[in-house]
């Protein structure tokens, strides 16, 4: 639950922190996926890819719940489409 008394700076710091978790797990999933593209039956890579994508799903859902959808296919749970006004990547 978002507390409403924290400063905007704190909110941004928390957003950076949660975003970094998404970036780390997505990078691990992407790098494993590229390996699987040329080794589609490698059991260790398959296991790792599943582990990373499972964890990615969780942190991404938490991020989107708090800061709005990252893609236009993400769900907006509030009454405003936050995708528009959340900071754009080159402005963060």
């Amino acid at each position: 639950m978002v507390s409403y008394n924290r400063t905007a700076q704190e909110a941004l710091r928390q957003q950076h922190e949660m975003l970094l978790e998404v970036q780390k797990l997505q990078f691990a999933a992407l790098d494993t996926a590229l390996y699987l593209d040329t080794h589609p039956n490698d059991p260790v890579a398959l296991y790792r890819h599943k582990m990373y994508t499972d964890r990615l799903k969780t942190v991404k859902e938490a991020y989107e719940m708090q800061f709005g959808p990252m893609t236009i296919f993400g769900q907006e749970v509030g009454d405003y489409w936050r995708y528009v006004n959340s900071p754009w990547p080159w402005e963060m």
């Binding site: 990078f27 992407l30 590229l34 080159w90």
Partner: protein, 190 residues
């Protein structure tokens, strides 16, 4: 189809404004061995790949390169942010500013416009994959040159990360090439 995700693939930060470096990093945006050239190479060549493994690797690396374009453009914006008229002129960006202000544009470090002649799609999978491995090495060399041109540790961090990606892509294309060569040899009878 392609989907946009509102985040960078890896954080891009700078310690301070550096207009000369902004001009130099544009080379990886719209230069001959830049991220646009790489992406367009791979996303085009995949249509004539004989194996699903190489269709997959070209699609996924070509897509990752689009994310790298966004990182390089972000790096440019952060390096040029707050530049004064004097700084732009001193960095040789007066003409650039007249045409594009401080928006990243598809040019190399000397202002030469991007051209599809920077890309190759021979239609022959072996020729194309060798081309792609060379493209990754050229991009790796460019990132090394850019790393030498800056003292900013945060800029170096982003450039080092991008350089490492070129090495991984080179590796994956090499594996794709081996698979295509095995496939074509298995079909060849003399």
């Amino acid at each position: 189809m392609f989907m946009y995700e509102k985040k960078l693939q890896y954080p891009v930060r700078v310690t301070k404004k550096d207009v000369r470096m902004a001009k130099a990093v544009l080379n990886q945006y719209g230069g001959p061995d830049g991220e646009l050239s790489a992406s367009m190479n791979y996303l085009t060549q995949r249509f004539s790949m004989p194996l699903n493994e190489t269709k997959a690797i070209l699609t996924d690396i070509g897509t990752e390169e689009l994310g790298h374009m966004e990182m390089v453009a972000t790096l440019f914006k952060k390096l040029i942010k707050g530049a004064t008229k004097e700084e732009l002129i001193a960095a040789g960006m007066g003409g650039y500013f007249a045409d594009h202000e401080t928006c990243p544009f598809l040019v190399d470090a000397e202002g030469e416009h991007w051209d599809s002649k920077y890309t190759q799609a021979k239609g022959d999978p072996i020729a194309d994959l060798y081309n792609d491995m060379a493209a990754e090495q050229k991009a790796r060399a460019t990132y090394e040159n850019l790393i030498l041109l800056t003292d900013d540790p945060l800029v170096k961090d982003t450039l080092r990360w991008l350089r490492e990606r070129e090495i991984i892509h080179f590796q994956r294309f090499g594996e794709g090439l081996r698979l295509v060569e095995e496939y074509t040899n298995s079909k060849r009878y003399y």
